[in-house]
Amino acid sequence: MLKLGGTDLEFRNWPADREKLIARVSDQPHRVRPLREGEAYLVKGETPPPGFRCYLAIRSHADLLAGLSDDEMQVVLPDEYDYLADGDVVRLIPGQNRIRVIYRRRSRHNSFLTTERCNNYCLMCSQPPREIDDSWIVDEILETIPLMDPATAEIGLTGGEPTLLGADFFRILKMLAAYLPRTAIHILSNGRQFADPDFAQRYAEVGHSDMMVGIPIYSDVSTVHDYVVQADGAFDETIQGILNLKRLRQRVEVRVVVHKQTYQRLPQLAEFLARNLTFVDHIALMGLEITGFTKPNRRDLWIDPADYQSELYQAATLLAGHRMHVSIYNHQLCLLDPRLMPLAKKSISDWKNEYMPECADCREMNSCGGFFSSAKLRYSDHIKPFL
C-alpha cells in the first residue's frame, strides 16, 4: 500500500506564517527559472539547483539538503515517499508536519475527494461520510487542476457525494474542462441530485467531451436498495437521475457492489438493467472492500465470493448477452467462474492494491487485479494460485 499522506515530516526553515503550500514536484535540475518559483524540487543526487520554492528529500537522502542555504524551505520525508516523481502535486502543511500527495502524474488512479458529506449512508461505505464544512477542499482542487499534466489519462471525483457541492461541483468540472480537456473525468455519485432536471442540464452544459458518472444501483427492488444505502426514496431518485442524464446523452456507468445483501437478486437486477436502463454505457459488478463502514457491518455484508459465483455468472452473462458493456471489478481471478475471467478488470487503485502470500507463485498474478489492502482483515477461503 502506498502511503499518500501523513504527519511524520520534518519541515526546515519554513516561515511561521506559512499555513500551507500546494506545489508541483520537479526533479529537473535545469528547470526554467520562472517555473522554479512555484515548485518543490525533489532532491535525489546532485547538488540541488537554486530558485525553487522549496526542497523535498526522503530521509535517506536528507544529507543532500546540506548544500542548501539556511533560508531555503526544506522538507524531509519518510522513505515511504520515495515514489514521488516529477509532475506530482503535493500539499504541505508545516504547522502539522503534514503532507498529502494530491496527484501522481504517472498513475492511472488519481482522484479528488471532493467532500466528505453525503446524503446516502451505505452499509458498506468505504469513505464514511462526515457532516462537516469541508468547502476548503474545493479551493484546493481548483488550485491543483492547473498544475496537472494535460496528458493525464483519467481523473476521478469521489466523496462523499460530489454533487452536494452544488455550484462548486460545476466550478470543478468547468475547471477540468478548461485545463484537462483530454483527460477522462470519472465521477462517483449516487446520482440522486440528477433527479432534478435543472441540475442534470447544468451538468450536460459543462461541455467536457469525456465525462462519465458512476452511479450505484444495488437492487432491482426499491426497498432493498434504500436499505443498502440507508436512505428512503434513494432508489427512485437514483433511477430518475440516470434517466435524466441519459436523456441529455451523458455517459453513465452503473456500479453494483456484490455482498450478502445484494448477491441474491443479482440476476434479477441484471435483467432490470437490461430492460429498463439498456442505454447505460457500462456496468461494473464489484467485489466488497473491507474498509470504512464495512468493518462494523461485516457480519451483514461478508460473503465469500466463491459462494455467489452462480449469481454473478448469471448476471454477467445476461448483461453481456444483451450486448451491454459489463466488467467485473475487485475479484481475484482464482475465485471467478473461469467463464467470467475475460470480463475481469484490474480495477483496484495502485496505491491500495496488494497480493496475498498464497499468490506468490501464481502465474496469473500479472493479469489478476489482486486485493484491496484492507482484504487482510477478511478474504476468501478459496484463494488458490494458478500453478
Binding site: 426499491s222 426497498t223 440507508q230 432508489f235 427512485d236 437478486r265 429498463n276
Partner: protein
C-alpha cells in the same frame, strides 16, 4: 444501538398494500401462468401466486412480490418510478412508428421462368413485356419513396423474377442514389431473385452499388426442384451455384435465403435445415405457407394443416436447439423475431408481427403497373380480383392521398391488437401482430375471429413453446439470447 436501520424499517411503506399496474395473464399449462406487463416483459408464476396477486393478498416479504414489482406488474408506496419506466419502455417498443415507411417493394416484373405452384403472385410467362414496370412508373414511385420521413430507406426489387427486367433495376438504383445525394438517407437495395439468371453484369453492378441479394432455397435438391419447377429442372443447381458465386463477389453476408414450406417439406424439417448449414447459412426462416395467390387457387393452402405445420416447425426448432447446444451457432429467424419482442426492450421491423400493422406504414408495394398496395399480400389479393388494399396509383395520386387513404387507415385502426377482441386480453399480445391482410383474406374481415385464425393458432403455439423451453431449460434461454443479440 446501531446507526444503521434494518431492512424492515425500509419496508414500512409496504404495509399499505400494493396497486396493480396494467398486466395480462394467460394459462401456460396445468400449473403455470404467463404474466406480461405493458412492455412485453414476462414472468411465469403458479396459479396460487397469481390468485394472491389479483386478490391483493401477495405477501410483501416473498420472492414473488419483488419479482412482480421489478417487472412492473405491481407497484407500492415505496417507489413511484415504475410508471415512468413503463412509459419509457412502451415508447421504445413503438419508436419505429415515428419513422414511418422504411421498406419499399418494387415489383419490377411479373414475368418468371420458374413455375412454382405455391407462387404468391400471378406469374406471367417470361415473354410478356406488358407486365414489366416502366422507367416512368419507377420514377413516380421513387418520388413517393423519398417522401417517406424514414431515416433509413430500403428498396427491394421483386417479381416475378426481377432480373428479367434488370435494366429497370439499374435505372432505379442510379436514380435513387442521385436523389439521395440531397435526401441523405441510409439507403439500401435488395434484389429478391431465384439467381437462375445471375451473370457478371448483375454481380458487378451489385458490388458497385452495394446491393444485397435474397434468394429462395427450399431444401435438398429433390425437394427444392419439386417445389420450384423450371425448364430443365435445375432450379436447385442454379440457386446454389448462384449463392456461392454471389458470395464470392459481394461477400458472405450479402446473400440471404428464404425457404417456403409445402406439404412435401413437412416430414423433412431436419434435412432442410441441414441444407442451409451445408450452404453456409447461420440461420433459417422456417416459414408457414401463406394463403394468397396461387396457393389458394391451387388449394395447396386449404389442404395444409396448421397442426402439421407446427409439428414440422417444432421438430426443426428442437433440431436447431440441439445444434446450438453442441456449439454450432444457428438461429431460427421466426423464433428470433418473437424472442426479440420477449427478451429485449426493442421491437423488430417484421411486418407480419407488428401492431399497429406494418402495412403501408412500415412497408409498401409499388406494382409494375404503378398501383400502390399496403402489402405484398394485398397486391396478391388484387391479382385475384379484390382491390381492398390498393392505396392508389403513382401516376394519379399524391403521397398524401395514398398514405391517408381509407384503404390504409381503416384496416390499421380496426386491427390494432391492443384493442381487438380477444387480443386485448391476451398475455401474448405485446409480442404479436395485427395482420389485417391475412385475416381479411381468410375471414373477410380485418380483425377476424381469433379462435378460427391460423395466424393466432400458430403464434400462440410458438410463444407457448418458447416460454416452456426457457422455463425448463436454462441453456435454451442463453441460446435464444444469442439469437436476439448476435
Amino acid at each position: 444501538m446501531s446507526k444503521f436501520r434494518p431492512l424492515t424499517a425500509y419496508e414500512e411503506p409496504l404495509r399499505d398494500g400494493y396497486q396493480l399496474l396494467p398486466f395480462r395473464f394467460t394459462r401456460l399449462d396445468d400449473n403455470d401462468y404467463v404474466v406480461t406487463n405493458q412492455a412485453g416483459e414476462f414472468l411465469v408464476i403458479d396459479r396460487s401466486t397469481l390468485s394472491d396477486l389479483v386478490r391483493h393478498e401477495l405477501p410483501s416479504t416473498g420472492l414473488a412480490y419483488n419479482d412482480l414489482k421489478s417487472k412492473h406488474v405491481l407497484t407500492d408506496a415505496d417507489s413511484s418510478v415504475a410508471t415512468e419506466l413503463l412509459a419509457l419502455k412502451v415508447r421504445t417498443k413503438l419508436r419505429r412508428l415515428a419513422d414511418f415507411t422504411s421498406l419499399h417493394l418494387f415489383v419490377v416484373s411479373l414475368r418468371c421462368e420458374h413455375s412454382c405452384p405455391y407462387c404468391q403472385v400471378s406469374r406471367q410467362s417470361d415473354d410478356k413485356l406488358a407486365f414489366d414496370m416502366t422507367p416512368e412508373t419507377a420514377d413516380k414511385a421513387l418520388e413517393l419513396v423519398f417522401r417517406s420521413p424514414s431515416p433509413a430507406l430500403k428498396i427491394e426489387f421483386q417479381g416475378g423474377e426481377p432480373l428479367l427486367n434488370f435494366p429497370l433495376i439499374r435505372h432505379v438504383v442510379l436514380k435513387a442514389e442521385t436523389l439521395n445525394q440531397v435526401a441523405g438517407r441510409d439507403l439500401q437495395f435488395v434484389i429478391a431473385t431465384n439467381l437462375a439468371l445471375l451473370d457478371d453484369e448483375v454481380l458487378d453492378f451489385c458490388r458497385a452499388h452495394d446491393v444485397l441479394l435474397s434468394t429462395s432455397l427450399d431444401g435438398p435438391p429433390d425437394l427444392h426442384n419439386l417445389n420450384r419447377p423450371r425448364p430443365g429442372g435445375d432450379s436447385y443447381e442454379r440457386t446454389v451455384r448462384g449463392i456461392h458465386r454471389a458470395r464470392g463477389v459481394l461477400g458472405r453476408d450479402r446473400v440471404s435465403a428464404l425457404m417456403t414450406t409445402t406439404q412435401a417439406s413437412l416430414p423433412r424439417a431436419r434435412e432442410i435445415i441441414d441444407e442451409y448449414i451445408r450452404q453456409g447459412f447461420d440461420g433459417i426462416f422456417l416459414r408457414a405457407l401463406s394463403p394468397y395467390g396461387f396457393a389458394i387457387k391451387t388449394k395447396s393452402f386449404t389442404a395444409y394443416d396448421m397442426e402439421k405445420w407446427l409439428g414440422f416447425y417444432f421438430d426443426g426448432l428442437d433440431y436447431i436447439l440441439e445444434m446450438n447446444k453442441a456449439g454450432h451457432f444457428f438461429a431460427e429467424h421466426y423464433a428470433t423475431t418473437i424472442l426479440t419482442k420477449m427478451l429485449t426492450p426493442f421491437d423488430t421491423g417484421y411486418v407480419d408481427l407488428m401492431s399497429p400493422a406494418g402495412i403501408g406504414i412500415a412497408a409498401v408495394v409499388y406494382n409494375y403497373d404503378g398501383n400502390v398496395y399496403a402489402s405484398d399480400e394485398g397486391r396478391m389479393l388484387a391479382e385475384m380480383g379484390d382491390t381492398t388494399f390498393r392505396l392508389g396509383n403513382v401516376h394519379n395520386d399524391q403521397y398524401e392521398d395514398i398514405f391517408l387513404s381509407d384503404n390504409l387507415l381503416q384496416p390499421l385502426e380496426e386491427s390494432f391488437a391492443s384493442s381487438a377482441p380477444m387480443c386485448s386480453d391476451c398475455a401474448f399480445e405485446p409480442w404479436c401482430g395485427a395482420d389485417p391482410v391475412f385475416h381479411y383474406a381468410t375471414q373477410g374481415d380485418f380483425v377476424g375471429r381469433k379462435p378460427e385464425s391460423a395466424f393466432c393458432t400458430r403464434h400462440m403455439a410458438i410463444v407457448r413453446r418458447l416460454i416452456t423451453m426457457m422455463r425448463d431449460d436454462e441453456n435454451a434461454r442463453d441460446i435464444f439470447l444469442r439469437w436476439v443479440n448476435p
